[in-house]
Symmetry: C2
């Protein structure tokens, strides 16, 4: 069918064609399907969107990605037809039937994800296929390799170390502390983090409350040259572009199929050239995994670590309740800074876990003897060297350490109703509560936990404060707190 | 986050918000996710698209569906935040875990599909959940009921009959013949059909080659009042809007989970008020289902028919090879017309099957005694009454019977290479061949089959002609024919 190109400069990050709804009906294509566009003897596949109003019948509005590829001019006629399905959709269907995929087939799927040849809908089919049918070790290996191959790579001189937590624990902001300690000890730590996926805040969100986190690879190299480390958002670096896309689609239903979790973590660590990698697997009834699942995951991580020549160790940690007192970007960074500053009121649980992780990294990379890592970590923290390093990194990331903190304009504190002991604090509900209060979008929104599991509490003592930037947000959070009871005593 | 409304009138059929790519990154939303928009004390949930160029940072372009709901003006500031996930996405995740869904949960999913509260990606997760885990009879019953409840309903006076084929056989254009015979016998047959989903042509595509097929419900009532029947496209009628949406998403990976197939057919038949429904289930190695699957499907159709108070019968037919000689809209309608006109060269297989189906319908609704339906059908066909009725319907649908036919500007005929017998003709490959030649978009493109399975063939006899509207299309089809060998002898 011949369609007239409408002029309106827009970039969509991939080839997109907006058709009039009637034209789309006549062509029998729907939103998210693909058409083939032919002009000037060139062709390109574009994803379809449909609208009416500013797009008339027989007109087509294409994104600049199409304009450039086909050398189009305004008003030109182009030939549009249904696109054949991409080869990888056959492989996705094969996986949906729980068949084994070959190396070439997984490579093609990953390549098509990165090149936008697969739509979100098709990727969702792939995610649910892997979710339902799993993947063999062989397939998972192919997936890691394919994901590494399509991404950018960085190399650093020196001992390059890294850590990753599989998440699921509210608060738990160990990364800035661990990175500061390790970098102060002379290790190279190019730490990339994600923004919140299902939690109230990701490390990137927390760092962003006091510094920039979006940099180019060139800029990151500079930051690391200056400070030994960085704490940046990994999403825009293209280190594992297939993973970035998969995460978007998984996030929609909060799915996190194990093979993709493994591939996600490993591909990013390989891409930044890490040699020594520590994986933190919090487990427990209120964590992402129970003890057996945690052990199994540990084995798999270490198996693939070896396969890809990483010195990788996975440790199981207590994931039963939130760690630290603050939940939300600014509330969490205050916890971090108070520990680095050796403030006596700083949360002990967060400090303890951070020292443990840093110590493990020291032992893993040979910086300390077995059993002595934690002592070195403690020494560096106590000496103020870790805080000095943290300030350096924040400065290199064009940020500043705040002198004082102020949280959400609106707040409410719930008090203890009867003298008792805290029985449990539900990580998932605490995260949802933080999100309802406005975290991570509102940097100063979130929660402050006065108590942890096992602590004795007295009637009328404060239990939790909720901070929000608007009355509406605060009320939503209060309603949820009363209904869902995240803290049981 | 406050965003400025950009003015550009467009309708997307649902609330859509286009954000600048950087703004979307800062909000941590991605294409196909949802945001909540607040303005003038009203709120609405919109699906996100991202672009740059004509959309600046902190600007938002919303579809008219949003403008109207929120009473927006150009340049106004609106508050955008991440939307909570719809309740039904929790139920979809539940189904992905193969848990049983309650009536209320299925109703909510269907309602959210129709109201565009679920995106294509979420619907894909639902489809693959049902594909992998199946549905119990109870769940399927809920699904049918929910799909009927959200759609439009029509009621006709008289004996309302209907037919449906589960498809998978190339050609096989029985519908126009069966409808003409039944309507000539005084039965009411409000036949709605689909366009091609995976085949080279759907009944709606074929009818559209000589008449209009898109009508409002009001117009359809008029056509049926005049002629007893219609043959229209069901997609725009809103009879089963949930199904229309599900089919779009299933089509992407050619999935057709059984519970959704059952719900799709039944909901549409119930919506048009059919009392007597015949289901045609072609089976065989080159059909959609084998004999056992066909029998099982027959039982399920009849079980749910009873449940929903339809007089429903399912018949198993030979689905092993294409039926008729033409594949493609105009080529198929020529077969149909040649049978109705009692042309001695008309394809006998198509005639035989059409008479069988019409006869079954006569017996089902009590128009004929058991065993005598086919005789009545034959009589009506031979008398010319069916052709007269067909012409009436075509005229009512503002079409015209062509006096002569001409097919694709470019064509090529393959000839038999050795004297032998036709062993098999692969339906799927024949359909793909038709699609490559340009069918159904190019109405005059397609195939002509000179031979059927079992026929003796002599060297140099013509085997198949491929018609296309462009040289490129023809060459693609020729290449595919040589590579895939759809006809084996």
């Amino acid at each position: 069918m011949k369609l007239k190109v409408k002029s309106l400069k827009f970039y969509a990050g991939r080839p997109v064609a907006i058709l009039n709804i009637n034209t789309a009906n006549r062509m029998n294509v729907h939103v998210d399907e693909r058409i083939k566009l032919l002009c000037n003897r060139k062709e390109i596949i574009a994803v379809v969107d449909a609208a009416s109003g500013f797009i008339k019948n027989n007109e087509i509005l294409v994104s600049n990605e199409v304009v450039e590829e086909l050398c189009l001019k305004k008003g030109q006629l182009i030939e549009a037809s249904l696109a054949e399905e991409p080869e990888s959709s056959v492989f996705i269907r094969k996986k949906l039937e729980c068949h084994h995929l070959e190396r070439r087939e997984i490579e093609k799927i990953v390549k098509d994800i990165v090149e936008n040849a697969l739509t979100e809908t098709e990727i969702a089919y792939f995610v649910s296929a892997v979710y339902k049918c799993g993947m063999s070790s062989k397939e998972t290996g192919y997936l890691v390799k394919a994901m590494v191959d399509v991404g950018e790579h960085i190399h650093f001189k020196g001992k390059v170390v890294d850590k990753h937590s599989i998440g699921g624990v509210a608060g738990n902001r160990t990364t800035p502390i661990v990175v500061s300690i390790c970098a102060a000890a002379g290790l190279i730590m190019p730490k990339t983090s994600s923004r919140a996926i299902t939690s109230a805040a990701g490390t990137a969100d927390v760092m962003e409350s006091i510094a920039r986190v979006e940099f180019s690879i060139k800029e990151i190299k500079k930051i690391i040259k200056k400070t030994n480390a960085c704490m940046v958002w990994g999403g825009s670096l293209g280190l594992s572009p297939a993973d970035d896309k998969l995460i978007q689609v998984e996030k929609i239903l909060h799915l996190d199929p194990e093979p993709q979790l493994l591939a996600s973590v490993l591909s990013k660590k390989i891409a930044v050239g890490s040699h020594h990698v520590l994986i933190d697997i919090p487990f427990g009834p209120f964590a992402k995994v129970n003890k057996n699942e945690a052990l199994e995951l540990k084995n798999k991580f270490e198996y693939f670590g070896k396969k890809f020549k990483l010195n990788l160790k996975a440790v199981l940690t207590d994931g039963n309740e939130p760690i630290g007192r603050g939940i939300g970007p600014l509330l969490e960074i205050r916890d971090v800074i108070s520990i680095l500053k050796r403030n006596p009121e700083a949360p002990k649980d967060l400090e303890k876990k951070s020292l443990f992780l840093a110590g493990q990294i020291f032992e893993l990379c040979g910086k300390s003897k077995k059993g002595e890592g934690i002592l070195l970590a403690q020494k560096i923290l106590n000496s103020g060297a870790a805080f000095k390093k943290f300030k350096q990194i924040i400065e290199a990331q064009r940020g500043k350490i705040p002198q004082t903190f102020s949280f959400g304009k609106f707040s409410h504190t719930f008090h203890v109703e009867k003298t008792s002991k805290i029985k449990r604090i539900d990580n998932k509900k605490i995260n949802s509560l933080g999100v309802l209060a406005g975290s991570p979008m509102d940097k100063s929104a979130g929660l402050y936990l006065f108590k942890h599991v096992g602590e004795k509490i007295k009637k009328h003592e404060p239990l939790i404060t909720i901070y929000a930037e608007s009355k509406i947000r605060l009320n939503e959070a209060l309603r949820f707190f009363k209904k869902s009871k995240p803290i049981v005593y």
